[in-house]
Symmetry: C2
Subunit: 421 residues, 2 copies
């Protein structure tokens, strides 16, 4: 057996089929069709058959993008991630390898939907993303928007919601910008890459949406994709296809694409929130301050750690507990930081719900110390926004105003008559 | 109008009623019956009536706990929190003031359920909780368990799930230990304190459960309470009564209590998971290492910050992205920390789902550097567990074994045949 061989074996009465990855500490490691590795004790396994290596080179399809002037033009900004990755049968892990041309060639149905304008922005897994690459993506998308009807950004899922948040602030767009990705790599039969990509190209090319969105599976089975607002979405599961969820609001749209035998047989778009069809000018506002931190509070966090994180950044978004609290002992350190010009914003580690600075004495004191309670902004969105805001100004009053101004739907309206004092 | 006055006013055609808190920057601040503050521009408000101050002293009921030998004995370990708090009409904020005796006196229906054995462990809001107080709670509960049929712990909601996790490890118990709290203070008509307390006393005194649990509202209206496993529960909303959710598993039980006119008219307990009725000896294992951190990774986190947090603690639980990743540049710093004796555990900031060290190349390298992927343990639970584990051993191999041993349901079983290599 060599790495990549297709193996069938019997173990404890069960028949298992998979691709041989390696031998490790007496275990035969197989990659199953669901994408997971399984380890079988070698001395308990009865090998029934070994076939040649699975095709692990370039993708099987080599269609060329078609230039059809009747179809919308859709830009594809490729950044890397699982959607552009394939399984490395030597290590058993997934590595980022496909280029945007490979990606387009893999899904020939794309030619029925749009004339694609590919652009490679980066080729990394999104856990390696840093704010300076967010800016490269914003610039790449901005250029593509000038020559297309909409843009799809392919991106790793790990930090996709951080990137959509930054682009929501850094880019004003009269056309749809749709991030998408995959939870299973494109060269695997179980991949969600095809439907996510087709759906996103359809939304980018045909929908009336204007703004930055994220489109991924709506449920764990193939079918509808949900289109989330870029500032109100979060990765909520390590492995599910429907890992992205709108938080504190509904998705703005849904989209259904069905492809069969290389042809699209059904496509449908449902607009759920007309707010996101309003006109915006095309504008790049790619402000960036990389000296910003996101700090999740935990019981017993040391004063020294808290103090240093605050003092060594231009701004910090704290994920407090409940309404946005940290323990009382730390509040003077917030004052110290704010007095020295550091912006301190407050979000909640509960993820859902609104922070509040007037319900509990702790929060009252935190606000008096200069902390800014950021309504119900998601911690990750608030962090990306602060990177953007402190790239424009270091004036704390101006930064506070910008942070509390609803730029891209990041703050939801309060229900009822209750409002900020 | 003095703070505490009941005020009715007309504003923009609406009639508003509330308790006057203060005047602030031209606004009249009222606390509405739903507990929220609202600011009305003074020059737009027409005051219709002002009545005397609301009763803001001790609670209205002054029942004495009844010693009824026919009823189960239930220990009440009071630690503070909103359930023991009342509104301060001078600041408009809620402060921790009630003692355990006040609490028991406030809810006379308790006398129908159990003979209560109160014990004041602390009197703080839970945002001020630190691991050394977790240990005090564990010790207090241990003593109460010796003389009762079960124990209820009243606790602030902000960090209640961190405390339930620690006690799940620090305490082996043949009886139910039930944490509860409130999202609205006990002196407010909308408070959820009464039902949460009554339900928890009922579970502690009558149910077959054994272990550490958390019982709070199952939905946003009064009715059923959910009983969550102490290691698989998380505060998921800043303000909802059903803020606590079981993550990656169902609650272990449900309980329904209905009180009318000071009497209990219906009580019902539904066991959902018989696993948590298994016998355990009573044992206090209150190991504690306070030099442990929880670190949420974010894109662009500085190397210096990551390195220092790792090197300055005996152990760190990282909340990585997706399957548990940090960016590749930081992986050598994990190796450096592990080589110098620091335990590095990996969880995911997605909250839901299992970490995985074999799917992506980044995680493969992280594991090679010595990071321990903590299955699907919740970050907060993993942090509390590491506080407990490193209180027993600093040997990294032994710590790894303990962290990966399922002590109190903190690791859920994998579905299907996939398992750890």
């Amino acid at each position: 057996m060599e790495p990549g061989s297709k193996v069938t074996l019997r173990w404890r009465g069960k028949i298992l089929r998979g691709v041989f990855v390696k031998e490790d500490k007496g275990f035969i490691v197989l990659k199953l069709s669901n994408g997971y590795n399984v380890g079988i004790p070698k001395d308990e396994a009865e090998i029934l058959s070994v076939e040649g290596r699975e095709h692990i080179g370039k993708p099987r399809f080599h269609y060329r993008p078609v230039q059809n002037p009747d179809l919308p033009k859709v830009g594809i900004a490729a950044t890397g991630g699982t959607i552009a990755a394939r399984v490395d049968y030597v290590t058993g892990a997934v590595t980022a390898e496909f280029t945007v041309e490979d990606l387009v060639n893999t899904f020939p149905e794309l030619n029925e939907l749009a004339t694609l304008v590919p652009r490679q922005v980066s080729n990394i897994f999104s856990e390696n993303m840093v704010p300076s690459i967010w800016r490269e993506i914003a610039r790449g998308v901005y250029e593509l928007l000038k020559e297309s009807d909409g843009v799809v950004v392919t991106h790793g899922t790990d930090t996709m919601h951080y990137s959509t948040a930054y682009l929501s602030f850094a880019l004003s767009t009269p056309k749809p910008v749709v991030f998408t990705g995959a939870q299973r790599s494109s060269d695997r039969p179980s991949s969600d890459a095809a439907l996510n990509l087709l759906s996103s190209v359809y939304v980018a090319g045909y929908s009336p949406l204007k703004g930055v969105f994220l489109s991924m599976h709506e449920s764990s089975s193939d079918g509808w994709n949900a289109v989330h607002l870029g500032t109100r979405v979060r990765k909520m599961h390590t492995s599910r296809r429907d890992t992205f969820r709108s938080i504190g609001r509904d998705p703005v749209a849904r989209v259904y694409i069905e492809a069969r035998g290389g042809r699209i047989v059904r496509k449908e778009f449902q607009l759920l929130d007309p707010e996101w069809t309003r006109e915006h000018p095309l504008e790049l506002r790619d402000h960036l301050n990389e000296n910003v931190a996101l700090l999740k509070y935990f019981p017993g966090m040391k004063k020294e750690l808290f103090e240093r994180v605050l003092l060594e950044h231009d701004g910090v978004v704290i994920e407090g507990t409940g309404f946005g609290h940290v323990r009382e002992e730390l509040i003077p350190l917030i004052k110290e930081a704010v007095d020295s010009g550091v912006f301190v914003g407050i979000t909640s580690q509960t993820i859902y719900g609104r922070t509040h600075s007037h319900v509990y004495s702790t929060a009252v004191k935190m606000e008096e110390a200069g902390a800014v309670f950021l309504e119900d902004m998601l911690p990750e969105t608030a962090f990306a926004k602060l990177v953007w805001v402190l790239g424009q100004t270091k004036d704390l009053e101006r930064a506070r105003d910008l942070m509390l101004t609803n730029v891209a739907g990041e703050i939801t309206e309060r229900s009822g008559i209750e409002w900020k004092l």
